[in-house]
Symmetry: C2
């Protein structure tokens, strides 16, 4: 099934635009995981099981795995999600960006090796750094447009052709999106910019980080980014869900936060 | 030893500005590596031994390893280079770029896990996506500025504040470079732009891909990018060296190409 079809389906089935980001930092895990042989996998899997009813996607952030050599745990985690929750797509957050011949290898990493349904990519190197990912027709890619971090202003807000660079990126990605596989990363911390991007590219899906620990306002983000079908957004929360509690009730608390966040998103879109 | 000191030293000792890029594609290896248990490591190690006299750095491109799950081979390769050629720095070509909390994990991947001396980074997410790498005082980072690929034009040549975006990136990176750890990636395929960047930031080191298989002219690139000390450049060739021959003489031929390239660079700078 194509990535966008998978998203369309799960948005309805789980009545959710929430994505749970899997950023496993072992020092923030409850005590008992220190005895586990695969703490990262075990922790993430508890979170996945606890929140799967309330999400439209899971988004593992690869740096948290590769910094500690946990590639095997990442692969097993993604395999389990596909097995147990075949409706829920996995977005590998990797923000890759390289010349075409290298991009092919990154595409293999994300799609052949890990079996992710979509990846995140950086736009800086232009079209030939994105097209190799489109050779996988069932897969998707979200290109960085307006990011949620403080440094996002440094270049993304520079005026290029009379408007901020992030808007040039949005329109270029729309131009490259001949197969419907591309979307944009637009941070929840800048609702005004989400609105501008939605106006420019009404048909693209947005991956929206920045709610929860990063402080973005759910209501403003949803109202700015929702499309005509009241979908078109994959709204990510990582730390606020994962580390809702450091005690034995962490999974239950993660579930509560995921449900509450999903509901807050739904209230904003209806 | 600080990365820049290491570079200064090896530029002199090996009388070379050449970097050999390690982009191992097993389908391009000589036949005999198909019988190896660790073909990627074995092939790269033959190349390293054959070319070490003529280089100022080795640059493994991480996508070629991670696409096939060869992280262990990459680690062993870097360890061997450090052991056998302690003068020669290793630049991990990864082009990462993410929010500060994630960038910390990518810095751990490059420096703590793999022990690289420097990394390549993308500028798109701005200052807080770069600063975590500076917390490792002995390490360096090269930020993408003007890339060698066709899509490099898409955003890097857009006029921002009345000049191309890549020039804004160059000056920002100089501003961030309070500790002397930062350099720029400037493609050899655009000598005019190398010259512009050198004029703007006379003190920064450049990592220069694009000669060899990508077609950049050595003479023009060197004359445009060299600094007042006739150094300041790490000029990369990957495929032209690695795949100089697919026969049993591949290492010898790689050595010939590396020597010839080093000499051509030296001729251009003197």
């Amino acid at each position: 099934m194509r990535f966008t079809e998978k998203l369309d389906k799960v948005w309805k089935t789980n009545n959710s635009l929430l994505c749970v980001g899997l950023d496993p930092a072992p020092e923030r895990f409850p005590e008992r995981f220190s005895n586990s042989s695969f703490p990262v996998l075990d922790f993430c899997w508890e979170i996945v099981k606890a929140t799967a009813d309330y999400v439209c996607a899971f988004k593992p952030q690869i740096a948290y795995f590769s910094s500690i050599g946990a590639e095997g745990e990442l692969l097993e985690l993604i395999n389990r999600i596909h097995d147990q929750y075949p409706l829920i797509p996995v977005i590998l957050d990797a923000k890759r960006g390289d010349i075409g011949s290298t991009a092919k290898h990154y595409a293999r990493e994300a799609f052949d090796r890990y079996g992710a349904d979509a990846v995140t990519l950086s736009p800086y190197m232009g079209k030939d750094s994105v097209t190799p990912y489109l050779e996988y027709p069932d897969k998707g890619a979200f290109i960085l447009c307006r990011t949620s971090n403080p440094g996002g202003d440094d270049f993304q807000m520079l005026k290029a052709n009379g408007r901020p660079l992030y808007q040039e990126v949005a329109e270029k990605v729309q131009e490259w999106n001949t197969t419907g596989q591309l979307g944009l990363v637009v941070g929840a911390t800048y609702p005004h910019e989400i609105e501008e991007v939605r106006r420019l590219v009404p048909g693209l899906n947005f991956l929206v980080p920045g709610i929860g620990a990063q402080g973005g306002d759910i209501n403003a983000a949803v109202k700015s980014g929702i499309n005509a079908s009241k979908t078109g957004m994959v709204i990510n929360s990582s730390r606020a869900v994962l580390y809702a509690s450091k005690e034995e009730d962490f999974a239950e608390r993660a579930r509560d936060v995921a449900k509450a966040t999903r509901d807050a998103i739904n209230q904003a879109r209806n």
